[in-house]
């Protein structure tokens, strides 16, 4: 795994307001780095451009780690980093790893659990494609006590994780047809994406290079919900990265995403958490309304902070509950999840501006 700090430096030509400037040696500003570091950075960029990063790294990582640390600590890079909101392709874990560049590159380095969690999304495209694991997702609500207390507990559920496309999902997901018979689709959205931009897929009508990430999630969600394979399949929406969302929602307004234009929080809110809370329920409601308008059914929503393992355990327990309700709803006379502890019905939310 290798993060390139120099992409940030190169971006500085865009940071200067209004048009192009020439990058010659005499141009000096708070974002300029010395020629030696520039030379190193250019070399890294050239390697990346050839697509041959594998030929040099990770073999050369330890040798170059001190240089990487020097670049990272350089005031110019630090100044650039302060404007990271404008750098759309910078992973949010950049600081976490770059500040430990030398440790991470050392021969004796053993990744901590936290390191592994934070490395998600940064690994090379041709990494792991398939892995099996087990989770304890037995629900607190299920019959936990059998007559025979000495019987061995039921085995842990086995999960398989399959990365189907190194570049992420796109319009032509032909492999989705293999999943026609699944019992539930779990769709994950990062709440903190509402003000983030990413490369727009080729066929987005506007012709723009960048598109709001939340809008991209919404469009993918819609494509999946409308897919003929899933016409009878329940969906569970996991709204993830709540911790980042909580921090961010006070600085960047929710309406940074045009889909959330009608968010009208109840004021005054005494503390950060309250606004985040309202914003969360509002986002959940937007997805639920979208889902209901397409399928006429109820969307199940859960909140998570994926780097806190316990919230993921809870999410899977919720999903198993949803599966049980789906099975029982055919047998039972009375609705189903409406009375449940897990219900998050928000059909008439006070947080939406009434037209």
């Amino acid at each position: 795994m290798f993060i390139n700090p120099v992409v940030k430096w190169r971006s500085f030509s865009f940071l200067h307001d209004g048009g192009e400037i020439d990058l010659d040696e005499t141009t000096q500003c708070v974002y300029s780095i010395n020629p030696r570091l520039k030379h190193f950075s250019d070399w890294l960029l050239d390697i990346i451009a050839t697509g041959d990063l594998d030929a040099f790294f990770p073999a050369a990582t330890r040798e170059y780690a001190p240089l990487v640390e020097e670049v990272w600590k350089d005031p110019a890079i630090q100044e650039t980093y302060k404007r990271r909101d404008e750098l759309h392709f910078l992973p949010d874990v950049a600081e976490y790893f770059l500040s430990q560049a030398v440790e991470v590159s050392g021969n004796e380095y053993e990744p901590s659990e936290r390191d592994i969690l934070y490395a998600e999304g940064v690994t090379q495209g041709n990494g792991l494609a398939f892995i099996e694991f087990s989770l304890d997702d037995r629900s607190p609500m299920s019959e936990a006590y059998t007559e025979n207390v000495e019987a061995p507990p039921p085995p842990l559920t086995k999960y398989q994780l399959i990365r189907v496309n190194a570049k992420g999902m796109n319009e032509g997901c032909k492999w989705v047809e293999m999943f026609e018979d699944v019992r539930v689709v779990v769709f994950c959205v990062a709440l903190s994406d509402y003000d983030q931009m990413w490369v727009a897929p080729d066929n987005s009508g506007s012709g723009a290079l960048l598109q709001n990430k939340m809008i991209q999630s919404k469009e993918l969600f819609e494509t999946m919900v409308r897919h003929p394979c899933f016409k009878d399949t329940p969906f569970v929406l996991i709204l993830n990265k709540y911790d980042l969302f909580e921090d961010k929602v006070n600085q960047a307004p929710l309406s940074a995403c045009e889909w959330f234009n009608d968010f009208s929080p109840v004021k005054p809110h005494h503390n950060n958490q309250s606004l985040a809370h309202q914003a969360y329920f509002y986002v959940a409601m937007k997805f639920k309304d979208l889902y209901a308008s397409i399928t006429g059914r109820k969307l199940f929503v859960w909140q998570a902070r994926a780097r806190e393992r316990v919230t993921i355990d809870e999410a899977f327990k919720y999903i198993r509950e949803v599966l049980k309700w789906d099975e029982e709803k055919e047998e039972t006379y009375y609705g189903g999840p409406e009375d449940s502890f897990y219900s998050t019905d928000m059909s008439s939310s006070p947080y939406v501006r009434q037209e």
């Binding site: 192009e20 398939f130 189907v164 496309n165 032909k174 492999w175 293999m178 290079l209």
Partner: protein
């Protein structure tokens, strides 16, 4: 150059490419005076007559507990390997209906399987992005499972299709969701050649099917979600020999015609087409008018040993037998009384052409024989 200027140049280049494509299309249309069916009729050919006793289901192979996705015959003896949603490969003796192997796969999401030319190994691939090889003569491990003898990894997307190179148990070709095809050396597990991909001109969307020319095994054809089929020469990986546009939807399946000079395709647009590899022309479209609705997607095709018949499986459960010469449907296997109860997902003819095997989402395989006095066609 600024980003805006680059974008402008990209748009201009795309327009040039599109107008050139349009010119090519018109030039081809002007050169095409007739299609196969038109010519055959003008020569006085009449469609075959096919009655229900001409193709008879003589075996039903039961054993899978999930949808059957893929099947392949051996090149000499009458054995079949099938892959299913239940995560297993089963090897059948087609004459006795016995199962000789039931292989539990490490990743249950299998999409394709193939028999090696000597019949000693089987290969399979799927969502795990690798192609796994099993030697049928290996000893089972302590859990009773046949071990994987080789894993071919390197694809960055699912393996949709695989086929061994004829006469060699050592090489096979895969098609993948990462838009490339790969020729593998099984002995070393390494890629000999990659066709398409990031820095080469190849398919621009998932590859769904590959078919190797039995007369000249250096040539193979691939079908893709980019609505084209491409012909490749294994000696020249950098670009396709020829690209065949024409379909209006994903090309789900490609199969070489028995003489090796033509190949057939089946697509999401509901049609099958016949293309000539020497001229690049589309020779025939096999399309049934069906009232207002478009015909359902074609998922699988196979040619009879002479090429006179084209078998095509559709997503609505039909399995048409086309007279390829006159572009007429002579039989619908799917509607016969003892046929499958769900979509036919895969088809294959035995090596001597005397039997057809169909695999279905109803979890069964069926063997059909040409009955009566009809000689093998």
């Amino acid at each position: 150059m600024s980003v805006a200027e680059l974008k402008e140049r990209h748009v201009a280049a795309s327009e040039t490419v599109n107008s050139l494509r349009e010119c090519l299309k018109q030039k081809r249309a002007s050169l095409l005076d007739t299609d196969v069916a038109g010519y055959a009729k003008s020569q006085g050919k009449t469609p075959l007559t096919f009655g229900p006793t001409d193709l008879v289901c003589c075996r039903t192979l039961q054993g899978h507990t999930g949808k059957v996705y893929s099947l392949d015959w051996t090149s000499e003896k009458n054995r079949i390997v099938s892959a299913s949603q239940d995560g297993r490969l089963i090897v059948w003796n087609a004459l006795t209906s016995q199962k000789t192997h039931a292989i539990k796969l490490p990743c249950a999401w299998v999409m394709t399987c193939a028999f090696s030319p000597t019949g000693q190994s089987v290969a399979c691939g799927g969502l795990d992005s690798v192609c796994s090889i099993f030697n049928l003569n290996s000893l089972c491990d302590k859990d009773g499972n046949l071990p994987v003898s080789r894993t071919l990894s390197g694809h960055k997307g699912y393996v949709s299709s695989c086929q061994y190179v004829p006469d060699e148990d050592t090489h096979l070709i895969t098609g993948s969701g990462d838009q490339t095809c790969v020729l593998w050396d099984i002995t070393t597990g390494l890629r000999t050649s990659v066709f398409g991909g990031e820095f080469q001109s190849g398919h621009t969307a998932d590859v769904l099917s590959v078919s190797i020319n039995q007369s000249n095994s250096r040539l193979f054809v691939s079908g893709s979600c980019d609505a084209t089929a491409r012909l490749w020469d294994t000696r020249v990986a950098s670009r396709a020999v020829r690209t065949f546009p024409g379909h209006e939807g994903d090309v789900n399946v490609v199969k070489f015609f028995p003489d090796g000079n033509r190949f057939g395709t089946g697509s999401d647009d509901g049609t099958c087409r016949l293309f000539d590899i020497r001229t690049g022309h589309q020779l025939q479209v096999y399309h049934q008018q069906h009232g207002d609705n478009d015909y359902p997607p074609v998922k699988t095709i196979a040619f009879s040993i002479s090429g006179r018949l084209l078998f095509a499986g559709y997503t609505n459960g039909d399995c048409y037998v086309w007279d390829t010469l006159l572009a007429k449907v002579v039989l619908n296997l799917g509607s016969l009384q003892n046929s499958h109860e769900a979509q036919i997902s895969c088809l294959g003819l035995s090596a001597d052409g005397s039997a057809l095997c169909t695999g279905s989402w109803d979890t069964n395989l069926k063997i059909w024989a040409f009955g009566g006095h009809r000689k093998i066609i």
